[in-house]
Amino acid sequence: MRIKFTTYILSMLLISGISCAKNHIMLLNIDQKDKLLLVSTLLSFNSSEQIKEAIDNGTRITVIAKAQLYEPRSWWFDRTLDNKKVFLEISYFTLSKLYVVKNKITGEQLGFNDYEQLWKEFEKLATFTFDLPSDSNLWIKVRLVLDKGALPTVMQLPVLIDSNWDIDTPWHEKELNLK
């Protein structure tokens, strides 16, 4: 009975894990320029009709692109060296029927006529710049999550339990092979 129950729970967790991972980061590009580390992503990102409908109806959604520079440690928590976050707000500009993606920190924005095109070029805005670290054996990991707290209040609770709004990617990790 107990084994059966444990198997059921593990199966449910596995299924939910798979469903969570429908969006993911395919590739991390790490470039070294002067004393900076430029990190860009290659995304496999799909948005649901529900999200599009919400954006079309004036809901602004914010996706947070998170990057973390860290030193992995065995049998203990990783040592985080630096954290970066990019807040990307997606909205619909009705007057010109334009989907606008705006970096909320830099103010940089792109306007798209096509919703699908928006997501195809979304990765261009999810770029990070780190100071070149001196340590070796460092890793970098990146993920994208929906900022549920930035949604209108009445949307927050349904979004929490609606899988159509689950656009979070798992962490994508890559070792820094600094020369």
Binding site: L95, S96, L98, E108, Q109, T153
Partner: protein
């Protein structure tokens, strides 16, 4: 009590947190930005608080169920009060909830009437039409500039940008290479170097020959038009083509209006889109409010019920304790209402009960003490006392009664008096006497009766007194009786002693003169008389002297019986005295077989040697004289008494004809003898010596003859 206080504080804090969360939730839903970020946390906190509060209520219900099962005092009242509270509070809360949700849903729907939507759509369309004109103008200008630039050698195009910028309404003109890199730009704002470019997909479209012109939001409420056109390579100087991007600002007055239309439209659309969710959220919050109201009502119900029932419970418990006999109950008065008055009255009642109980207890103790004292007195009475009810049942018998009747308490107490008769036939006269008096309803009576016990006869003087029915439930009779056997015997002994003393005194005095006179007559007249008279005188005087001697012996015996010499007691054994007495008779009387079974080592007795020798001589003599045969067999046995502690039993038995029943009745009285000769005082003197030594004597017949048994206290073993 302390735990209860902490629990109440915890519940109070929980309620405060819950109400605060709900208030903030309400604020967040109404669009308060500061609470938007913590909305989910507030919601989670509310749910957790409701769950905790619900758990508390469930725990209280479980408690109620368990206590109800145990049927604890006050729990039924608590259950009833909780039910009442719930039934009183639930309907209004439910009604408010249902009406609120209904009203809220209708109210939210009323926000979105079709006219408002249509007006906003028209406004938007108008704005779009206006902006389309602006966009078309901007695109035309961009195309014109691009046409002009295409006629210029590409390396020199940058130089002309500033001029074209001044000639147009654009705020920025940017030359972009085919590889989408900025190759030149001209800005009205000279410090603006961060030129934003269109997305990659736009370039693809432009390459196919299309043009791009779109209104874009800028900063705040500002709008701008972005245009992008392809600059054809007309001169064929280089193989590559270029793109021209133009940014055209819209006048602030138009921009503000357009932005307002955009904002209003988006806001309206957003609200409309979120209408369902808004309703759901409000319904959830109202449901939470309903739950809290219900739970609070339940908490309050339990709390109020407990407060109200607590004194009732205390009263119930105190009443149970009073019923159990603990009257000293004092309940703390916690309120000044009717319950408080009831508690006060109860306390007064319990203190009065305690006082009354103390008095009753004292009286009971006194009664028990008196009863005990009476029993003690009765147990120390030498007279036997019986209490018999009208149903002939013996209710009480003191130890003397049991001793006299030789019965155990079990044989007497609570037994019908006829049962005594059945157990011991010898008690028949005694039982019949009492039954007669009971049936006669005699008030007071006294009568002597005779009972027998193992051939021993006891004379009982029985006195009875009727207990009136009004003094005791069953009425009945108190019977007091004394064993008069010893007293009667003593009285007879005393009488005989007196007789003996007087006889000895009256007879002894003239005997010597008689004897002397007879001897003198013989001496004086014997020689003077004829032979015939001489013989007569001689025989007469001889007879007188002989009879006087006999009389003297008799008188001496009487004298010994009447006035015993003072005892000279010493501690010594009996064996030597017995053997000396036996030796004396063994030598002087041939044909006597003595069999001695004496204890060895012998116990030490405290006796007068001379008197005891007299006792032994009398007993042996009595056995010898009482025997019809020439061959006499006498057995003397000494043994430790099994019935009386620290007593020695001396048994004399012979093989004679034994005692007749008539003789046995008065064996130890003077002049009772079966012999033709003797004074009849032998056994009387023996009895007297035994009694002088603190012992007792009895006589009975064994299988082959008589047995005399003497019990004497042992000095030490």
């Amino acid at each position: 009590m302390k735990i209860l206080r902490y629990k109440n504080i915890l519940i109070f804090m929980l309620i405060v947190v819950l109400l605060s969360s709900l208030y903030l939730l309400g604020q967040a839903v109404q669009g308060a930005e500061q609470f938007n970020r913590i909305y989910l946390w507030l919601f989670g906190a509310s749910i957790i608080a409701v769950i905790i509060l619900g758990s508390v209520i469930v725990q209280r219900f479980v408690w109620l169920y368990v206590k109800n099962k145990k049927n604890e005092p006050g729990i039924k009242l608590t259950s009833r009060m909780v039910k009442t509270f719930v039934f009183l509070s639930l309907p209004p809360v439910l009604v408010v909830y249902l009406f609120s949700t209904q009203f809220l849903n209708n109210y939210i729907d009323s926000w979105f009437d079709s006219k408002t939507g249509q007006a906003l759509n028209d406004s938007l369309e108008l704005g779009q039409l206006f902006l389309d004109v602006q966009t078309t103008q901007a695109l035309t200008q961009t195309k014109t500039i691009a046409q002009k630039l295409s006629e210029i050698d590409p390396p020199r195009q940058n130089i002309y940008l500033e001029r074209f910028l001044d000639e147009s309404n654009a705020s920025s003109l940017v030359l972009i290479s085919a590889s989408e890199k900025v190759v030149g730009q001209a800005n009205i704002d000279l410090l603006d170097f961060n030129t934003s470019l269109p997305p990659q997909s736009v370039y693809q479209r432009i390459r196919t020959g299309a043009t791009y012109a779109r209104i874009e939001p800028k900063q705040g409420s500002q709008l701008q038009i972005r245009t992008l056109v392809k600059i054809e390579n007309v001169l064929n100087v280089s193989t590559s083509y270029r793109f021209l991007q133009g940014l055209f600002p819209i006048k602030d007055e138009y921009s503000d209006l357009a932005y307002n239309i955009e904002t209003a439209y988006v806001g309206y659309n957003q609200q409309k889109y979120q209408r369902k969710e808004l309703k759901k959220t409000f319904n959830i919050i109202l449901f939470l409010v309903l739950m809290i109201s219900m739970l609070l009502a339940l908490v309050r119900a339990f709390s109020s019920a407990r407060n109200l029932v607590a004194p009732v419970k205390l009263l119930s418990q105190a009443t149970q304790r009073i019923a159990g006999g603990d009257y000293n109950q004092n309940i703390p008065v916690s309120s000044s209402d009717e319950i408080g008055f009831l508690v006060k009255s109860f306390n007064t009642m319990s203190s009065q009960l305690a006082a009354s109980s103390a008095i009753a207890h004292r009286a009971q103790t006194e009664a028990i003490s008196q009863k005990w004292y009476l029993e003690n007195v009765l147990s120390h009475l030498s007279s036997g006392v019986l209490s018999i009810n009208n149903e002939q049942r013996i209710l009480m018998a003191n130890s003397a009664a049991r001793k006299i009747l030789n019965l155990t308490a079990k044989d007497i107490i609570n037994q019908n008096i006829n049962q005594l008769n059945l157990n011991k036939e010898g008690l028949t006269p005694f039982v019949e006497l009492i039954l007669t008096k009971l049936n006669d309803h005699s008030e007071e009576w006294q009568q002597e009766t005779l009972i027998t016990e193992n051939e021993l006869r006891k004379i009982l003087v029985v006195r009875g007194s009727r207990i009136p029915d009004h003094e005791q439930d069953d009425g009945g009779m108190v019977v007091v009786f004394d064993d008069q056997t010893i007293i009667n015997q003593a009285q007879r002994d005393a009488a005989w002693s007196e007789v003996a003393r007087r006889l000895a005194h009256e007879v002894k005095n003239p005997l010597t003169p008689i004897q002397l006179s007879a001897e003198r007559l013989r001496l004086r007249f014997l020689d003077k008389m004829s032979e015939q008279d001489k013989d007569i005188l001689d025989r007469a005087t001889q007879t007188i002297v002989s009879q006087v001697d006999n009389l003297k012996t008799l008188v001496n015996a009487f004298s010994d019986y009447a006035k015993a010499p003072e005892l000279k007691r010493e501690a010594r054994g009996l064996n030597k005295l017995i053997k000396e007495a036996v030796d004396l008779y063994f030598i002087s009387h041939a044909g006597i077989n003595f069999k001695l079974e004496l204890l060895d080592p012998e116990p030490i007795m405290y006796i007068d040697k001379v008197r005891f020798s007299q006792l032994l001589n009398n007993l042996i003599k009595n056995s010898v004289e009482g025997s019809d045969n020439k061959e006499v067999s006498i057995t003397i046995t000494t043994l430790i008494s099994l019935s009386v502690e620290n007593n020695l039993v001396i048994k004399f038995s012979d093989q004679g004809h034994g005692f007749t029943d008539k003789i046995l009745e008065h064996l130890f009285e003077p002049y009772e003898t079966t012999k033709s000769t003797g004074s009849g005082l032998g056994l009387a003197i023996v009895k007297k010596i035994v009694e002088e030594h603190g012992g007792n004597i009895k006589a009975y017949n064994h299988t082959n003859g008589a047995m005399i048994e003497i019990n004497l206290p042992i000095y030490h073993k």
